[in-house]
Structures are given as C-alpha cells and as structure tokens.
C-alpha cells in the first residue's frame, strides 16, 4: 500500500536521511525537520520502499506538504 508522508507543521528540512529505493520499516526516519527549535524526525508508518523524496535540505515545508512517498 502506498503511503504519502506529509509535513504536520511548518518546518525547514534539516537532513534527508532516506534515499529513493531504500527499504524502510515502521518507525524508520525518512527526513529530519527543524521547527520550534527542535529537530523532529519524520518516520515511516508502514514498511515499504521509498519511491520518492520530494524535499531537499533547506526547503521550507508547510502543514500538509508532501515529504516522501513510500510504496
């Protein structure tokens, strides 16, 4: 099942941890965002393969923006 990982809040992208093609499990970190002076990992909710990472370090994401797609 495909899952679209979206930003929960306004943040800047600090690090992109996962790469396209990576096999990821539940709780694996895809991207680390920075917001409210905190580094907030964005994690995978279901196991799968990373098919797309839409953001790059330094990007600003808003609530609801797509960060990655995991198939």
């Amino acid at each position: 099942m495909s899952q679209t990982i979206r930003a929960e809040m306004v943040a800047s992208v600090l690090v992109v941890v996962a790469e396209v093609g990576d096999e990821v499990g539940v709780g694996d970190t895809l991207v680390i965002l920075e917001s409210m002076k905190m580094e907030i990992p964005v994690v995978c909710e279901e196991a799968g393969v990373v098919s797309e990472i839409v953001v790059a370090p330094g990007d600003v994401v808003r609530e609801g923006d797509v960060i990655a797609i995991v198939l």
Partner: protein, 465 residues
C-alpha cells in the same frame, strides 16, 4: 440467578455479557424480553461493575421506552453500588415504531448519564453501529471504546447522501479511522470485539479498583536514558511513560488523536494514576487546540474519580499559526488551564527537558496549584529558549553586529541571559520548580508525594469537552 451464557447468536446480549464479565458470570437486573436492552451486575478484573447492553437481534438494537428504562435502572444500580457502569452498544438509535415515546426514553438515558457524570466511571463499548441517540449515549460517557465493526454517527450514509450529496459508507463516516484519528469521539480503537471488551475490563478495574500505593514496590529506573542525547532532538514519549508506570500497566486514551500529547491510565506502585505527557515526536510536542482539549478532558476525569496525576513536561510552546487561532486555540487551550487550576487530586509535574512560555504554565505549573514540581538537572524552564529571548531583548544591538559574527555574539548573549534570567537555579529560587531530582530517582520521588497527599476528588461532572 447466576447463569453462564447459553445463547447461540454471538451478538445476543447474553453471549456478549459472558465475554465481558469475569468467568462469564453475571446476574441480570432487568427483565429479558423484547425491550432490546439487558442489564446485569458482575465483576470485571475483580471490580464490581454494572453493565447494560443493547440487543441487535431485536429491531436492530433500536431503543424504545422500556429499553431506555432498563438503562436507567442500570444507572440507579451503579449509583447505589458506587460501581463503574459499562454500556455495550449495537443499536440503530431510537425505535421508529414507538415514535416520540422512544425519543423521550433516549432523553431520559442522557439525563441519567449526565447525573452520573463524575460520580461513577462510565465506559462505553461500541461493537456495531451506534446511530443517532445511540451515538450520543456513548459520547456522554467518560471513555468510548470502538470495536472494528463499530460505527458511530448522528445521521447515516443515506441521509448524508440525500442532503449533502456526499457518497460515503458507514466506515468512512464513523468507523475506527475517522473517530480514532480525526474526531476524538473514540478513546480506544480495539483490534477485535473481545479486545474491545477486554479494554473495558481493564479500565473498569483501573477506575473501580484503584488500589493503594506501595512505596516498597517502586523500583528505580534510569528514565533519563530514554531521552535522546541531543537536547534538540525530538523523541517518542511512550517509552518514558511506560518506564514510569508499573510495567505493562499503561492504558493509553486518544492515542492517535492529537498525538502531540499522550494521556492515559496506569499504575504506580500498584495504585492507579493518570499520566499526561507532551510527545515531542509529534508537532515537536507543542500544545495546540486539540491536544489542550484532550488533556483537559482527561485531567477532569481523573480529578472526578480521585486519580492522582503525573505530568511529564517537555514542551516548546503553543503551536503558532493562523489555523490554530481560527480553530480556537485560545478558547480550547483555556480548558486545560481551567482543568488543572480546579484540580484537587495530587498532581505532580516533572520537567524532563524544557518548559517554555505559556505552555509551561498550562502543563500543571505550580502557579496553577501543582502539588509538587520536579525538574531533571538539565531541564530548562523559561519564557522562551535563551537564543530566541536574546534576539528579542537585544534586537538593536544584534543588528549592528556584522552578519558573520552574529552567531557567536548570540551564543554569548544567550549564555549570559541564562545566568541572569533562567536556568533551574532561578526557577528554584522563585519556587516555580520545587526540587531537582535525578531521573533515576524520579519514580520514587513522585510516588512519595502522591502517597503523602490526602486523597480527595473534584466535585464536578465530566462534561465531554
């Protein structure tokens, strides 16, 4: 009359009640006829409880005036026994063929529930559709548990389609996904019908058999090891909560709704406690309108049932944004301030990492009447983070500093600011923090405060905020 269930239809009231009560044993307290509701008394995990159940094998479980009277009888009994009451729901709502009489009956059920609110714990288990009046029944109670086949809605798919044109099925209208994640109607989404009944048994015992705190049973756990090394890194708070309460005892409520705060019941040294904890993994642990409302309702429930509270604080502030303001973060956030300020049960705060600004006040601060506020040695309590603070305080001076040197100057000013304004020392001087405690000794310290504080309960209902 004590009987084991002999019914064949698994949806029959007797079959379901047998799956709920200890050893399948119960005594009915209302007539077994075609009124569509059966009430019984028995035990759940050892606690005396009253349960009533709607009968989907009779007119789809619809509620008529006799059935509603049976529910009121169950409430009278719960009052008399001071016992938790569990409603097991599978009902299409009011009986159409009885007309207004059934509506009157449903209204009387609501009134009985409201009279009982905050006096006896009320738990609802929704096993099938619970529509219309059957939706608001569970909604008026303290805790709502939804089985996979449970559906809760005011108006069904056909009415929705004819009025709004929206084409939805019962599941997307009122199933586990919308109610577990979006609406906050449901506290626990269960894996199966039996799992739903088991959660109700556990919660009935947590609220009905609260036990007494045994200090000797408290083991020291190095809770500090459950935080990440970097103070800026977000983490999931659940391992910290599970390490704090007795092993395996945490029963989380509203796990997926407003997940930036975690609330639930567990035991500490054998005694039931409520836990409220910021969860930095979601929204950085910020308070927002939904999380404040979720925590406020939980705090008031614990207060009404004399459950002591443990508040684990790691909060960067309120979530900023237009959406929040328009959603009423001021009005809904005020509920949490009100809930803590009026709360009379022992309530102990532990600042694990940071507590900034208004969110610090809201998280059971001493100003709101916390019984005790502990902080871990490295915790920071401040109006805002020191760098953010000096950017405001020294805006002009920083503007004159060349850009390449600014970061360094900011760090120096921040260090200076921490010495003057903040840090734990200042918080201790002001009695904003009562005591610094080592993470590994925190369980014992909190347990001792709870043990030494008289057990009282808030005299108020538990309106479903």
């Amino acid at each position: 009359m004590t009987e084991a269930a002999v019914a064949i239809d698994p949806r029959a009231p007797r079959a379901r009640l047998a799956n709920f009560f200890d050893d399948g044993q119960f005594v009915t307290i209302t007539p077994e006829d075609d009124r569509g509701v059966l009430a019984a008394v028995g035990r759940a995990n050892g606690a005396n409880v009253v349960a009533f159940i709607t009968d989907p094998t009779v007119q789809g479980g619809a509620m008529g005036s006799d059935g509603c009277r049976a529910i009121v009888t169950a409430y009278d009994r719960a009052f008399a026994d001071s016992a938790p009451i569990i409603g097991i729901w599978h009902s299409g709502g009011a009986r159409l063929r009885e007309g207004v009489a059934s509506l009157d009956g449903v209204g009387r059920v609501f009134a009985a529930m409201t009279r009982a609110s905050g006096k006896v714990p009320q738990i609802s288990v929704v096993l099938g559709p619970a529509a219309g009046g059957a939706a608001y029944g569970p909604a008026l109670t303290d805790i709502v548990i939804l089985a996979p086949a449970g559906r809760i809605f005011v108006t069904g798919p056909e009415v929705v389609r004819s009025v709004t044109g929206e084409d939805v099925d019962m599941e997307s209208l009122g199933g586990p996904e919308p109610h577990g994640r979006r609406s906050g109607v449901v506290h626990i989404v269960a894996d199966s019908e039996q799992d739903a009944l088991d959660h109700a048994r556990t919660l009935a015992a947590l609220l009905g058999h609260q036990g007494s705190l045994n200090l000797d049973a408290i083991e020291d756990v190095d809770l500090g090891a459950l935080l990440p090394e970097s103070a800026r890194r977000a983490y999931d708070v659940h391992p910290l909560i599970e390490g704090f309460v007795d092993a395996g005892s945490f029963e989380e409520l509203h796990a997926r709704w407003a997940p930036n705060i975690a609330v639930g019941l567990g035991r500490l040294g054998g005694r039931t406690v409520g836990v409220v904890a910021n969860n930095p993994m979601r929204l950085g642990g910020c308070l927002d309108s939904s999380s404040a409302e979720k925590a406020a309702r939980f705090v008031r429930m614990c207060d009404a049932f004399a459950v002591p509270l443990i508040v684990l604080v790691d909060v960067p502030g309120y979530l900023p944004g237009l959406g929040q303001e328009w959603e009423g973060v001021v009005r809904r956030g005020a509920k949490l301030l009100h809930a803590f300020a009026e709360c009379v049960v022992p309530r102990v705060t532990v600042v694990t990492r940071k507590a900034y600004g208004g969110a610090f006040v809201a998280m059971n601060s001493s100003s709101l009447g916390a019984t005790r506020v502990f902080a871990w040695p490295s915790a920071e309590v401040a109006v805002m983070g020191s760098v953010a603070a000096i950017r405001v305080l020294h805006r002009r001076r920083l503007a004159d500093v060349p850009e390449d040197a600014r970061a360094q100057v900011e760090l120096e000013l921040a260090a200076e600011h921490e010495v003057i304004s903040g840090g734990i020392t200042k918080a201790l001087e002001l009695k904003v923090v009562d005591e610094v405690v080592e993470p590994s000794l925190t369980r014992r310290a909190v347990a001792k405060i709870i043990l030494d504080t008289p057990g009282v309960r808030g005299l108020h209902g538990n309106i479903p905020l």
